[in-house]
Every structure is written in structure tokens, then in C-alpha cells.
Amino acid sequence: MIEIVAGAALATVQDLGRVGALNLGVGVAGAMDPMALAAGNILLGNEEGAAAIEIPVFPFTVRFTEPTRFAVTGTDCAPALDGKAVPPWFACRAQAGQSLTLSVPGPSAWRATRAYLCVAGGIDVPVVLGSRSTQMRGAFGGHEGRPLQTGDLVPTHAADRAGPDVGLVPPVFDLPLDVDGVPAVRVLPAAEYDAFTPQAQASLWSCAWKITPQSDRYGFRLAGDELKPRVPLELRSHGIVPGVIQVPHGGQPIIQMRDAQPSGGYPKIGVVIEADLWRLGQAPPGSRIRFAPCTWDEALDAAAGNRRWLDKARRIAGLQHRAGEGGR
């Protein structure tokens, strides 16, 4: 088990999200950076979608009640085990009673906001409606359907599994994306794109959008050029997905994120492609982001690129695992 010792504000148990319950009004939830979650699990020999703890606020301290193999991925929060530095994005081993502290991210080659504490075997909370992710609105899933609190004992599964202490180079270095020095995400136009003024359409692609402090797992509220439809739009409610860029009446876009409701009625000017949601999920409030237009084929190629990166990591890490286990 993992005991939450300090600083659990907004930390939640997440996996790759809940599929199959949209027809009950249940949103997907899941890790804001699915690549970091999958990479941490690959390092530990887990299924890519094993549950981990997503940590958006630091410092954060846990104590391992039993010997545990773990990896901290996502933002570099200078992980330290009983005060001794351990590298980020590495499989490490903790002895029973050791404490792991994650600090406020400092200057880094990658500006990111969320860390993932992955453990061998995964966080062992019950599967609810097909997922271990915390469903905030429904108050179920995750650890008792809520963010973690100091004193919580979070169950882990077979945490002391053997394996080599190797790391992964974070995917942002192999899969970089920026436009004019500003981190970018690729966007496909959505249903109401043509209903916006030509000026609004141009602004969508040209503006370096500021991610305001009012941005969280529900949505990223952006500040920049005002986006106006040609005529006011009132839509019938319909299903939406993480990545949808809605434009409420005020003209400042909101990108729906993992805890967003699964339906909506605001005009949609575009949708961030699924392959780039991990970048967006790590973009810090106060930073800027650009939307890059792309084609359907380019969007699918981007998804295939992510898949290739994960497959390669799994293949090479898998070789290391077999070597570490004496060829078993």
C-alpha cells in the first residue's frame, strides 16, 4: 500500500479512462498525459493502462508500506527517496517504510505540470464501470470516488515484482511539436467552424493562446483573440469528447479536457486530435499554445507515431525485463 503523507491536493487515481459508459452520461476521465502513464507502466512491466496516481500540485509525499517498484513520469519533480535523488522516468525500488517526495518542478527541458506515480502491478482500486479512473462528478471510481487526502492508504497490486532499473527518454524529445517557438497541438475543424467569421477562423490558427489559471482537468480556458460566429448559434445537445474547442458567447475558447461532461451545446470551432491531448494535458497555466491545422491523414499518422513510440519502448524495455529475470 501507499500512504499519502502530505500534499495530496487534487491528486487522483487515473488509468487511460472509462470507455463504454457515455450512454449513461458518464465522462471518460483518465490521465491528462496518457503517454506518461503508459510509459511508466511499460517501465514496470505493467499493462499500459494500469492505474497510477496523477499529481498536479507539489510538493507531494508518500510512504511505501511494503517493498515497491515504482516510476515517476510526467513533469520532472525531482523525485527523492528518503532524501536521495532518483531519476524521473525510471523504474526504481523502494524498501518498506521509505518515503518518496516529489517537489515543485524547477527549470526543465520540458515545461510540464503533472507527474504520475506508477507502481508495479498498478494501483489496485476497484474497477467501476470498466475503469479505475476517478469520476469526479459521479463521485465514484478511483480512491473512494474523490481526490486523495493525507492519511489515505492506497492499495497496490503485486508491487514488488522483479525488473531492471531502466528509464525512458520522455516522448516529447522524440515527438516534438511547436510553431514559432510556441508549443503546438494539431486541430481538425469541427461542425461549426464554417459558422465563424473569416477573422475568427484566421485567429484560431494565428493566435498564441494563453492558458489561463482557470484551467484544470475539466477544461482549459484560453485567452486571446475574440472568436465570433457570423450569427449567434444555439445548438441541440450532442456528445462531445476531450479536445473539443468550444466557444461560449463570450468569444474566448474553452478546450474540454478529461473530466469534461460528455455532451454539450456550445459552438465547436475545432477539436484537438487525440494524438496531441497528452501534450495539451501537460501545458502549464500561464503558458501559451498554438493550434496547428492538420489533415485527417496527418492526424492518423500522428496517432500511429505515438503507437510506434510506445511499441518501441515496450519492446526494448521488455528485452531488459527478460534479461533482468534471467531469461524467463
Partner: protein
């Protein structure tokens, strides 16, 4: 230490063609160290005092084949620098193979004397990477 300069130049040319990062020539009155940094080979006279420290130094060698990184890809500063102190097990550098990283870990509590391999250099198994001086824990040998 007095060594024929032509001999040093010849050794330097030979060293530059290998993946050997450091070569030390010991004489009765001192040591000459040839250090390869990228494509440049630099020679350093090691003072007798430093030489005593060097005599107690240990070298942390590459645990495998890969590209030596003096820092984690996310970090802006090298993991180890001359004079930096590290607890046993802490990373002093990394070896990269494709997307996989291996840590070059401190074998004991130590102070770093020098990083012997260049950031980005391809190294083989056993290539000296970091020179360290173990910290005296007060135990008598």
C-alpha cells in the same frame, strides 16, 4: 613531468581515433593525463598533490554500450560535476540506447573528481565515465 612533446602529439592523434576518453601517463615526478572531449584531445599535467587524490580515485565505468548523457534529458544541468557530492546509488550520468536510459550510478557515497566522457559520446562497455573519490566514512581499512 617532462615528456617529449612530439610523443604527446603522437599519443593525442592515436587517442582521437579511439573511443577512449582518458589516458594517464605516470612518471616518477608526476602524471600527464590526456582527456578526449569531443574531437579535441587536451593534455593536463596532474600536480603531485592532485596525483595523490587520483591515486585514491575510482573510475565509474560504462555498464553497457550506449550514448553517454551527462544529464537526464529533462535536466538543464549535468548530474555530476567536479566537486559535487553524491550518495551511493544516485545517478552521475546516463547511457541512452534508443528510448531506453540506464543510470550510471554512484557505487558509494562519493565526491566527483571529473566527468571523463563527453555528453553525447558513444561509449562501450567498461569505458571510464566518471572519476570519483569515495567519501571516508570513518571506517578504518
Amino acid at each position: 613531468m617532462s615528456v617529449d612533446p612530439a610523443f604527446v602529439a603522437q599519443l593525442s592523434t592515436w587517442l582521437a581515433a579511439t573511443d577512449i576518453a582518458v589516458l594517464e601517463l605516470r612518471g616518477p615526478d608526476g602524471t600527464l593525463r590526456l582527456v578526449q572531449a569531443g574531437s579535441v584531445v587536451r593534455s593536463e599535467a596532474v600536480s603531485p598533490v592532485e596525483d595523490i587524490a587520483a591515486a585514491e580515485a575510482e573510475v565509474v565505468a560504462a555498464p553497457g554500450v550506449g550514448v553517454f548523457l551527462d544529464r537526464h534529458p529533462l535536466r538543464l544541468e549535468p548530474a555530476a560535476a567536479p566537486g559535487s557530492q553524491h550518495a551511493a546509488g544516485e545517478p552521475l550520468g546516463f547511457l541512452r540506447t534508443g528510448p531506453i536510459l540506464q543510470a550510471v550510478s554512484a557505487p558509494c557515497d562519493c565526491i566527483v573528481e571529473g566527468v571523463l566522457a563527453a555528453h553525447g559520446a558513444t561509449v562501450g562497455f567498461g569505458t571510464p565515465l566518471v572519476a570519483i573519490v569515495p567519501i571516508d566514512t570513518g571506517e578504518t581499512p
